[in-house]
């Protein structure tokens, strides 16, 4: 089965709405950025949209950006520490809300998985990259990527 086509501009618009409503309280702080090197060693949060044409929606941001996102979401006071559990929760929820809205774009979606988050490394393994959207939130790079999981985990007999 052919993977669902998920329009990158539509997902970027979803992400911008998420940041406006949940993080910034005002529009315009999450913008489209120029492509650059792979964002490794940061925080990667994702959800999978299961079904006949499964997808993975990933949000990746550097460690400082992740810290700032968590602080903004939780309205922490300056100098107040971000616990790793809260950072994971905050980024996971950003990925969850973006992914949930992406699921609404899928013609015949299955279930939405609970968010997963990794700190460090290059993000989740597996799947075929469909597209990457380089973005910038305040001064921090952020990348949304969409992956097809259609043949992920299946044995291929040559």
């Amino acid at each position: 089965m052919t993977a669902t086509v998920i329009d990158v501009d539509h997902v970027v618009a979803i992400a911008q709405d998420v940041f406006t409503a949940m993080i910034d309280g005002e529009p315009g702080l999450l913008t489209v950025d120029a492509p650059s090197d792979e964002l490794a060693g940061g925080v990667h949060a994702w959800v999978d949209i299961q079904g006949d044409a499964p997808l993975r929606s990933v949000v990746s941001v550097g460690s400082q950006g992740a810290d700032q996102i968590a602080r903004a979401v939780m309205r922490l006071a300056p100098g107040e520490a971000v616990e790793e559990e809260d950072l994971t929760d905050a980024l996971g929820e950003v990925a969850n809300v973006i992914g949930g809205n992406v699921k609404a774009l899928v013609t015949i979606p299955g279930s939405l998985t609970l968010p997963q988050v990794t700190i460090g490394g290059s993000g989740p393994l597996g799947g075929q990259l469909m597209w990457q959207a380089p973005l910038r939130w305040r001064s921090h790079r952020l990348v949304i990527s969409m992956w097809s999981l259609e043949n992920y985990g299946k044995d291929v007999t040559l």
Partner: protein
């Protein structure tokens, strides 16, 4: 009008956001938090709240399972979903199972109030 409300979401951050939005929308509600549907069900049985606001996708017991359990237990407690899954299909499913409303994430205080006000009257 002050209501007793249970907010169920496996994300502590999202529970904070919902509570904050309730305040920003101008509601002075007594809010109890639950980390999943199972905890929300036990709290609902104990507290008999005026409203349950529940996420859809939670471990241990999902929002839809919570709604079904509330109904099966004979508790006449209204439940509204606050979820990232706001597609027409999900709204239809929520309504068919007896949910009062479905507020899609991301939401603002204004969009939250617009949905809630209709059901407070």
């Amino acid at each position: 009008m002050s209501l007793r409300v249970i907010v169920a979401d496996d994300s502590k951050v999202m529970r904070q956001i919902v509570k904050r939005t309730i305040r920003q929308a101008g509601y002075d509600w007594d809010v109890t938090e639950a980390e999943n549907g199972a905890e929300a069900l036990e709290l609902a049985k104990a507290q008999q709240p005026d409203l349950v606001l529940s996420d859809w996708n939670m471990p241990q017991m999902s929002g839809i399972e919570l709604l079904r359990a509330l109904s099966a237990s004979g508790l006449d407690i209204p439940l509204g979903f606050v979820t990232s899954e706001g597609s027409p299909q999900m709204r239809e499913l929520a309504a068919s199972e007896g949910a009062l409303f479905l507020i899609a994430k991301p939401f603002t205080a204004d969009s939250f109030r617009d949905t809630i006000e209709e059901f407070l009257e």
